[in-house]
Amino acid sequence: MQKLVYIFFLSGALSMLAAGCKKMLNVTPKSSITDQNYFTSEGDFDPYVTGIYTSMRSLANNITYGTERSEELIPALNSRFSTAWAQILSPSTGALDYNAWYKAIGNCNLLLYRIQGFSFSDAPDTKARILAETYSLRAYFFFHLTRIIGDAPLMLQAVVNDNVPLLARSPAADVIKQINSDLDSAILLFRSVKNFSPKTYPSKYRFAYGSAQALKADVALWSAKVVGGGDAALNDAIMAINEVQTTGLSLNQNFKNVTGIRAAGNPEVALAAFYLRDETGANYGLNALPYKTGVQGALNIDSLPYCATTSNGQGAYQISTLSRGLFNANPNDKRIPFTWVTERQASGPKISWITKYPGTIYTDDRVSDNDIIMYRLADIYLMKAEAFAALSNTDSAIAYLNLVRERAGNGDYTGATDKLTVEKEILDERGRELFFENKRWYDLVRFHKEGVIDVYQYVPNLAGKTTPLFWPLNSTVLANNSKLTQTDGY
C-alpha cells in the first residue's frame, strides 16, 4: 500500500515539474487558420482570390441598388420590396451601411499587401493573373459603390488590426480615376502572360481580359454621363468594347439560351456570378418565381415558372406594365416568352410572372439558381450603341442597336435618327433586352443625367418626389467615422 501511495505522489510531483515548461501553453491550431500561418506560401493567394469572388457574387445578386428603384417591378402575391422601391430614402429609412463593399475591397487590399513579399519566380504568370483578377475585383467593388453613393472613401490600405484610418469621401471623379487605374493595371497584367490571347476566358465566372475591358467600358459610360468624363470617356468606352469584340464572344441565336445555358458554356457571356443550388442556394430570382398555391387554377399553369413551395418561389415580383409596354411596338418580339408570361385564370389575365431567370427544376422543386449574368455581348453592343449615340454618331449607334434587334426578330430600326430619339430607343432596347438583369436603375440614372429622360417622371414611384439618386449613409457609418458627410440632398 505504501508503495502505491508513493507512486501516486511521485506522479503528482512529476507533473508539477513538467508544469515548469513554458511550452505547456503553446497550442498549434489544427482546425483554424490564423494570421500566424496564412499567407506564408505562394499557394495561399489563389484560394484567396477565389474567396473574394463570393463578394462579387453577393453584390451582383443585390437588386436593391440595381433594380428596385427602376420601373421594372411591381408587387405580385407577396411583397418583398425595400423602401428603395417606394423611393422613400432618408438617413433613417433605407440608408446604406456600406461595410459589405469595404469588406470586399479590404480583402483585395489585404491580398495586394501580402503578395508583395512573394516573387513567384517559378510561376510569374500565376502572380500576374492573381494580381490582374484582384485589381479587376477592386475596380468592380468601387464602381458598384460609387454608382450607389457617388463620392466614396478610397480605402486602399490593408487593415491588419484595429487601426483603421478615418477617410473622408473622395469625389466620384477621383473614385473613377482609381477604378480606371486598377483596370489599366489589370489589363496590362492580363496581357503580360506568356502566349497571351484575348480570346482566353479561363473561367466565365472570374475576371479575364475580355470582362475587364467590358467593365472598363461600363465605367467609361458612367464616367461620361454621370461624373463629367466627357467625350474622352465615351471614346474610352468604344475602345474598350473594340477589345471585347476581339475576344470571340457571339450572340446566342435563340434568346432562350441567354439565361438557359450556364455561363461556362454560353458564347454570349463575358462574366457571370456563379450560382448553383448546392453551393449557394437561390439568387434574387427567388422573389420572382410564383408558388403553387398562388397560381393554382391557372389555365396556363404549365407554362408558369412556379415552385412547389414559398421557400423556393416567393411570388413577390412581377414585371411592371411600364416594362411590358416597352414591347408594345413589336408584339412578336422573340424575347417576350423568356421575359414574362401572363397567368390566365378563368376570370381573366392575372399576374405577369418574370421568366428571365426560371431556375432549374430538381426532383423536389424548381430552384432559382441560374448564373447571374454581369456582362454579355448584347449588353456590350448596346453600350457601344449608347456611346456612339452620345457622340452624335447615330449611324454607328443604330448599327449596334440593330445587332440586338435582329436576334429579337424585330428587324432593323426604322425610326427617327436624331440623337435624342436614338438615345431614347437605346434606353428602351436595354429595358427589353436586359430586363431583370439588375442594370436598369443605373441605365436610368445615366440617361437621366444626360438629359434623355427625366427619371422623376419616368419612374412612377419617383413621381412627385425629390429623393436624390444616390443613397444616404446610415447612422452606423456616420457614427464610426467623423470625417464623413451625408450624401448630398439628405
Binding site: G12, K30, S79, T309
Partner: protein, 1117 residues
C-alpha cells in the same frame, strides 16, 4: 432487518468490493442515541472521538455504536443544521443519549472557500448555500431549475419548458458581460438560440469543472454559490462569473449499509398559452378582414383561389380536396366533385358548413383541425433512484443509480437519462486518505429540432390548415419551414445521445501534523452523437429540399485536469489559527467534431449513411453529400495559486488568495495574469464586551479581489481565415481581424457585509453590498464601416454591477411539534457601463442611433452602449391611439407621413383601425427618430421566499420567487394580430375582444385592427423594425405591445409525510416517506403574454414552462 439484509445480499457483494474491513484495538464499547430537541431520532449525525480518527454516524433510529479508547474521551457530535456538541465520556459509561439543538440556518456549516474548508462563522467571503431541502423536491431532472429564486443574487432565467432544457445561463450578480440574457427566444437541441455573450459561472462538481444541467439532483449533498472575489479570485481566470460548487453524496465511515429507493411520478401540463379562435370564429374573421381591408392584398387570390387557409378554390378532380392543405372549401364544389356521400361522411366526422360571410348564399365547408389540442399533452415523467451507502472504519462508499424519463407537454419531446455515481473513500493509514469518484451518464433527449419552425411558427397555424389527409397520413403543413409536427414525428427519426464519463482520484497525505499534500487528477470525457434520418415522404407531397436526408454529427470533448495542493494548518499559541495553502493546476481541453450528411438514400431502413457518393439525376451526376467536415480544438491552462486564512480567537478573521493564470489562446505577451484577493472579518458578538442579549451573532466582513474571464478563441487574438466556395472551387477568406493586444478581462469585486443572528441564531440575516467592476471587458468594438470588418474583439471598456443582497432566515414558529421555517431573499442589482474606448462621441457611445430627445428638443444619439448608462433599454414607437374613422385617418394622412409602413402601405395610407403613431419630433414624418424610450429588458430586483411547515412527520413546503423591473415585448400576440409576413397564423381571441378596433366608429381601443401581412402590405401596426428595438423579428416595437414583466411565481407547493416508525415495525423498512407536489402553479403578474420570466425583452412564444404535479415515495432499508 436481518432478512432484508439477506434480500439485498447481491448488492452487498458489489459493495464489499470497495470495502476493507479492519478490526478494532483494545477498547471500550459504547452505544448511544442522538435525538433532536423534540426527542426525534436523528439520522446521519457524525460522531467523532476528539483527538483520534475514530468516527461513526447514527443510523435511521439515531443509534450509533463506537469503540473508544480506554480512559477518558471526548465525543464530538455534528450534523448539518444542528449546533455541534462535545460530550465527555467516562470510562464507566457504556450508553449515552445526546440531544442536539437546531441551528435555524446553515451558519454553523462547513463552507468550501476555494481550496479550503472553513466553518461558516469564520468565513469572510460572500457564499450562499442552498438548503438541501430545496433539492429534495426537484420535479425536473435538471437541478439548475431548483436554484430559481433561492439564492440571493443568483438569476436563473428559464425560458423554455422543453424537458431537460436549461436556462440560457446562470447569472450571478448581473454577470460580467453586456448581454447576459441574450436576445434569443428559446432553444434548439437543448441549446439556447439567439446570441448571448454571457458565459456561465464556473461549476465544480466534486472537484471537476463540468456542466451542472445533467447532474442528478438526488445525488447532490451540498451546493453553494461563491459570489465575491474573496471566494472566486482563487479560481482566477474562470472565476469572474461566480463559482458554483457542488458536492455529491459520499458514504460514511463506520456506518451500516443503507439501501434507499426513491420513486417519483410527475405529470406535466401546459400552463400559459394564447387563447386561439376556433375554426368558425377564425373563418368568419379572416374572410371579412381580407374582404374589407384597404391593404393592397391580392384579395381574389386569397379568398377564391385558396391563397390562405380561409380561402376557397375550385377542386376539379376527386381526391384533391382530401389532401389539400386548406380545410376550407365550397360545399357545392365538393359535393359535385366527390359526391354527397363523401361530404356527408365528412360532416359526420366533424366538418361543418357556414354561409360565406363575404358572399351570402354561398355555402362553405370547413373543419377545425384542433391542432393545439393535438400538440399539447400531459407529459409523464418517471424518476427512479437507488442508492447504497455505508462504510467501515477504513473505507466508505456511496453508490447510486438513476433513471429519469421525462416526457414534455409538446408531443414527441422527451428527456431520458441514465446516471451511475460511485463515491469511494479509502483510509488505509492514519495519515493517508484516497477518494475516488466515478460518474457515468447517458442522456437521450428528444428535443424539438426546429425550435422556430416547429414551435414558434408551426404551432401558430390557423384552425383551417389540414393536419391529416383523408388517408390518415399527416400533411407537410403549411410549408416545410412551418412544418406539421405530426409529419415530423412520422417521417423524421432523430437519435441524440450524450455519454459522459467523469472520474477523479484525489489523495490527502498528512505529512506532519497540520501539513497536508492533496494531489488530484480528473478526467472528463463527453461524447455527443446526433443521428438524423428523414424517410422518403409521399411523392404527391411537397418535397423537402434534400430528400431522404441523413446526418451524423459527433462532438467529443476531453478534459484532463490535475491539482497539486500543499496545505499547512497551524496555531501559534491558543488563539492564532493559520492555514496556508499553495498549489498548481493544469487543465487541457481537447475537442473533436465530425459532421457528415447525405441525401437521396435508397431506402428507409438504414439509419446511418449508406449512400453512394453520387447519384445520376436527370442525366446529371449530383453529389449526395450535404455536409462534410471535422474540427479539432485544444486549449490549455496552467495556474499557480496560494491561499491563506488567519483568525485570532475566532474574533478577527483575515484571508487572502493569489492566483497566477496562463491561457493558451492569448498572445505570447499577454498569456499570464495575476488575480489577488484579501478579506477581513470581525465576529463582534464573540467579543467580551458584547452583551446585547438577543444578538447571538454579529459579524462584519469586507473583501476585495479580482477574477477573470478567458472566453476567447484563438482567432480573436491571431485573426481567423475560413473556407468558402466559389464556382465549385475552394476559396479562403479572412473571417476576423486579429487583436494581438487582447488581455484578460478582470472583474474587481468589493463586498461589504453584515451577518446577524438573533435569539440563539433562530433568526439570521445577511446583508451584502457589492461593487463589481469588470475592466477590459472582452467584447466586440465597432469599427468604421470602411474597415474590412464591422467590429473587432477588443478590451472594450468597463462595466459595473452594484447591488444589495439580503438573505433572511428564521424559524418563525416553534411550538411543540409544529415548526415554521422561512427563508426570504432579495437582490437588487444595477448594471452600468462606466468606461468605453474614446471615440469622439458624447459618452463614447457605441452603436447608438439618432433619436429625438424631447427633453433637450434636439436629435441626440441614444441606445447602444454609452458611458454612465445602463445597457439594454427598449425603445418603441409610441401609440397615441387607434383611428376611429377613415375621416380621422385621412386628416392625419394630410399632415403626417408614416415612412415606416410597408412600401405598399405607404401608398395606401392610414385608415380606420390603424395605429396613430406619435410624431415625436413634429417633423411630419414618422421615422426612426420618433422612437421613444420605454424601459429596460432586464429585471433589477430578483428574489424568493421559501417556507417549510413541519408537524410531526408531516412537512409542507411553499416556495415563491419574484422579479421586478423588466419590460417584455409581447411579440407572439403582435404577430398573431398583424400576421407579420404571413397569411396563415391563427388568430387569438383578443382579435374579437373588447380591446381591439373592429369597426368604423370604435373608440379608445388598445389594439389596432386585425390584419394579414401587416409587415409586407400593411401599415406595420405591429412590427416596425425599430433601429433601437430588440432587433428580433419575433418581437414587437410598438408601445402598446410592451408591458411590465413584474411577477410573483408560485413555484412549488409540496407535502411530505414520514410514516411513523411504529407502523414500519412489521416491515423490512427503516424509513418511508411519501410526498406530493405541484410546481409552477402560476403567477401574479400584469403581463399577458406567455412567459413573464422573459429577460431578453422578447416573448416570442415557444415552449411554455409546464405545470408539474408529482407523487412519490422514498423507502429505506
Amino acid at each position: 432487518m436481518k432478512s432484508s439484509k439477506t434480500r439485498v445480499r447481491w448488492l452487498l457483494l458489489v459493495a464489499t468490493f470497495f470495502l476493507t474491513l479492519s478490526s478494532f484495538g483494545q477498547t471500550i464499547f459504547l452505544s448511544g442515541k442522538v435525538v433532536d430537541s423534540s426527542g426525534k431520532a436523528l439520522e446521519g449525525v457524525s460522531v467523532l472521538v476528539k483527538g483520534h480518527k475514530k468516527a461513526t454516524a447514527t443510523d435511521a433510529t439515531g443509534a450509533f455504536n463506537l469503540t473508544i479508547p480506554a480512559g477518558r474521551a471526548t465525543l464530538v457530535f455534528s450534523a448539518v443544521g444542528y449546533a455541534s456538541k462535545e460530550v465527555a465520556i467516562t470510562a464507566e459509561q457504556h450508553t449515552v443519549t445526546i440531544a442536539l439543538n437546531r441551528s435555524a440556518d446553515a451558519m454553523q456549516d462547513v463552507i468550501i472557500v476555494g481550496y479550503m474548508q472553513q466553518s461558516r462563522k469564520n468565513v469572510t467571503a460572500a457564499v450562499s448555500r442552498l438548503d438541501m431541502a430545496e433539492m429534495k423536491d426537484v420535479t425536473s431532472p435538471n437541478p439548475v431549475l431548483a436554484l430559481q429564486g433561492k439564492l440571493p443574487g443568483v438569476s436563473v432565467p428559464v425560458s423554455s419548458g422543453q424537458p431537460g432544457a436549461s436556462p440560457v445561463n446562470i447569472i450571478i450578480r448581473g454577470g460580467t458581460r453586456l448581454n447576459v440574457y441574450g436576445t434569443g427566444i428559446g432553444n434548439s437541441g437543448g441549446n439556447a438560440i439567439g446570441s448571448s455573450n454571457a458565459t456561465s459561472p464556473l461549476v465544480i462538481v466534486d472537484g471537476v469543472f463540468r456542466p451542472m444541467a445533467d447532474v442528478n439532483p438526488y445525488n447532490i449533498e451540498s451546493l453553494q454559490v461563491m459570489k465575491d472575489a474573496a471566494a472566486t479570485a482563487i479560481y482566477g481566470s474562470q472565476g469572474a462569473n461566480g463559482v458554483i460548487v457542488v458536492k455529491t453524496k459520499g458514504g460514511r465511515y463506520n456506518k451500516r449499509m443503507t439501501l434507499t429507493l426513491n420513486h417519483r411520478t410527475t405529470w406535466e401540463t401546459a400552463s400559459r398559452s394564447l387563447d386561439y379562435m376556433n375554426a368558425e370564429q377564425y373563418l368568419r374573421l379572416a374572410r371579412t378582414t381580407v374582404f374589407n381591408t384597404h391593404d393592397a392584398l391580392n384579395k381574389d387570390n386569397l379568398l377564391n383561389n385558396g391563397g390562405f387557409s380561409a380561402g376557397t378554390r375550385i377542386y376539379t378532380s376527386p381526391g384533391q380536396y382530401g389532401k389539400d392543405i386548406n380545410l376550407t372549401a365550397l360545399y357545392d364544389n365538393i359535393v359535385a366533385v366527390e359526391g354527397i356521400d363523401y361530404v356527408n361522411n365528412l360532416l359526420k366526422k366533424g366538418w361543418k358548413t357556414m354561409d360565406d360571410p363575404v358572399n351570402p348564399g354561398t355555402k362553405l365547408l370547413y373543419a377545425d383541425n384542433h391542432y393545439q389540442d393535438l400538440l399539447w399533452n400531459t407529459g409523464l415523467t418517471n424518476n427512479e433512484n437507488l442508492s447504497i451507502d455505508g462504510g467501515s472504519d477504513k473505507a466508505s462508499y456511496f453508490l447510486s443509480a438513476n433513471y429519469a424519463n421525462q416526457a414534455g407537454t409538446f408531443v414527441g419531446t422527451n428527456y431520458k437519462r441514465y446516471d451511475v455515481l460511485g463515491n469511494f473513500s479509502y483510509r488505509p493509514t492514519e495519515n493517508f486518505k484516497l477518494d475516488v469518484m466515478a460518474n457515468y451518464q447517458n442522456i437521450l433527449p428528444n428535443y424539438v429540432a426546429g425550435f422556430v419552425n416547429e414551435l414558434i411558427r408551426g404551432t401558430r397555424i390557423t384552425p383551417l390548415i389540414r393536419i391529416f389527409k383523408d388517408n390518415g397520413d399527416p400533411t407537410v403543413g403549411e410549408l416545410w419551414s412551418v412544418v406539421n409536427r405530426f409529419h415530423t414525428l412520422k417521417y423524421d427519426q432523430t437519435h441524440v445521445s450524450t455519454e459522459r464519463f467523469v472520474s477523479r482520484v484525489a489523495g490527502d497525505w498528512t505529512i506532519a501534523k497540520g501539513l497536508h499534500f492533496r494531489p488530484s487528477v480528473s478526467y472528463y470525457a463527453q461524447d455527443y452523437t446526433y443521428l438524423f434520418m428523414r424517410k422518403g415522404t409521399p411523392a404527391d407531397e411537397v418535397q423537402p429540399s434534400t430528400q431522404r436526408q441523413k446526418n451524423e454529427n459527433i462532438n467529443n470533448t476531453r478534459k484532463m485536469m490535475t491539482d497539486q495542493i500543499l496545505q499547512y494548518d497551524f496555531n501559534i499559541g491558543d488563539d492564532h489559527h493559520f492555514s496556508v495553502l499553495g498549489g498548481f493546476n493544469y487543465t487541457r481541453t481537447t475537442g473533436n467534431t465530425v459532421s457528415i450528411g447525405s441525401q437521396r438514400a435508397t431506402n428507409d431502413y438504414i439509419y446511418t449513411i449508406n449512400e453512394p457518393p453520387t447519384t445520376n439525376v436527370n442525366g446529371t451526376v449530383m453529389s449526395n453529400v450535404t455536409d462534410f467536415g471535422t474540427t479539432l480544438s485544444e486549449d490549455r491552462m496552467a495556474s499557480y495559486f496560494g491561499q491563506m486564512t488567519y483568525d485570532y480567537d475566532g474574533r478577527y478573521l483575515f484571508s487572502s488568495s493569489l492566483r497566477y493564470d496562463g491561457y493558451s489562446d492569448f498572445a505570447p505577451d499577454n498569456k499570464y495574469a495575476l488575480f489577488p484577493s484579501v478579506a477581513a472579518g470581525w465576529n463582534v458578538a464573540r467579543e467580551k464586551f458584547w452583551h446585547v442579549q438577543p444578538v447571538s451573532t454579529l459579524k462584519l466582513r469586507a473583501s476585495w479581489g479580482q477574477a477573470g474571464l478567458s472566453t476567447l478563441s484563438i482567432t480573436d487574438t491571431y485573426g481567423g481565415y475560413s473556407a468558402t466556395q466559389y464556382a465549385l472551387g475552394s476559396g479562403i477568406l479572412r473571417s476576423s481581424l486579429p487583436n494581438p493586444n487582447l488581455k484578460w478581462e478582470t472583474t474587481e469585486t468589493m463586498d461589504l457585509a453584515t451577518e446577524i443572528g438573533l435569539f440563539n441564531d433562530r433568526i439570521n440575516l445577511v446583508v451584502d453590498y457589492y461593487n463589481k467592476v469588470t475592466k477590459d471587458m472582452l467584447a466586440s468594438k465597432p469599427l468604421p464601416s470602411e474597415a474590412p470588418f464591422s467590429s473587432i474583439t477588443y478590451n472594450n471598456g468597463n462595466l459595473r454591477n452594484r447591488g444589495v443582497e439580503v438573505e433572511l432566515g428564521a424559524e418563525v414558529i416553534r411550538a411543540g411539534a409544529f415548526a415554521w421555517k422561512s427563508n426570504f431573499s432579495f437582490a437588487f442589482n444595477r448594471t452600468v457601463i462606466t468606461k468605453l474606448p474614446s471615440n469622439g462621441h458624447p459618452k463614447n457611445r457605441q452603436n447608438g442611433q439618432v433619436v429625438w430627445d424631447p427633453g433637450s428638443k434636439q436629435n441626440i444619439e441614444q441606445g447602444g452602449y454609452a458611458e454612465g448608462e445602463r445597457p439594454f433599454g427598449i425603445w418603441a414607437f409610441k401609440v397615441l391611439g387607434v383611428f376611429s374613422t377613415d375621416a380621422e385617418a385621412a386628416a392625419w394622412n394630410a399632415k403626417i407621413k408614416d415612412n415606416l409602413a410597408s412600401p405598399s402601405g405607404i401608398t395606401v395610407g392610414k385608415h380606420a383601425g390603424d395605429y396613430i403613431f406619435a410624431d415625436v419630433n413634429g417633423d411630419g414624418v414618422i421615422d426612426q427618430k420618433d422612437q421613444v424610450f420605454m424601459g429596460y429588458r432586464t429585471p433589477s430586483i430578483l428574489g424568493g421566499w421559501q417556507n417549510t411547515f413541519t408537524y410531526k412527520g408531516i412537512s409542507l413546503r411553499v416556495t415563491m420567487d419574484y422579479a421586478l423591473g423588466h419590460l417584455i415585448s409581447n411579440g407572439a400576440l403582435a404577430r398573431s394580430l398583424g400576421q407579420g409576413r404571413a397569411f396563415n397564423e391563427g388568430a387569438p381571441k383578443t382579435a374579437l375582444g373588447p380591446d381591439i378596433w373592429q369597426k368604423e366608429g370604435d373608440v379608445g381601443k388598445k389594439y389596432a385592427r386585425f390584419s394579414f401581412a401587416d409587415y409586407d402590405f400593411g401599415q406595420r401596426n405591429y412590427l416596425r423594425n425599430a433601429s433601437l428595438g430588440t432587433n428580433y423579428s419575433y418581437s414587437s416595437d410598438v408601445s402598446t405591445m410592451i408591458q411590465k414583466g413584474d411577477f410573483l411565481a408560485f413555484r412549488e407547493i409540496s407535502i411530505g409525510y414520514d410514516v411513523p416508525k411504529e407502523l414500519l415495525r412489521r416491515t423490512h423498512f427503516t424509513g418511508l416517506n411519501v410526498f406530493a407536489s405541484v410546481n409552477n402553479l402560476g403567477y401574479i403578474t400584469g403581463y399577458q403574454g406567455f412567459n413573464p420570466e422573459t429577460y431578453t425583452g422578447v416573448d416570442g412564444g415557444g415552449y411554455p414552462r409546464p405545470r408539474q404535479y408529482s407523487l412519490g415515495a422514498t423507502l429505506k432499508f
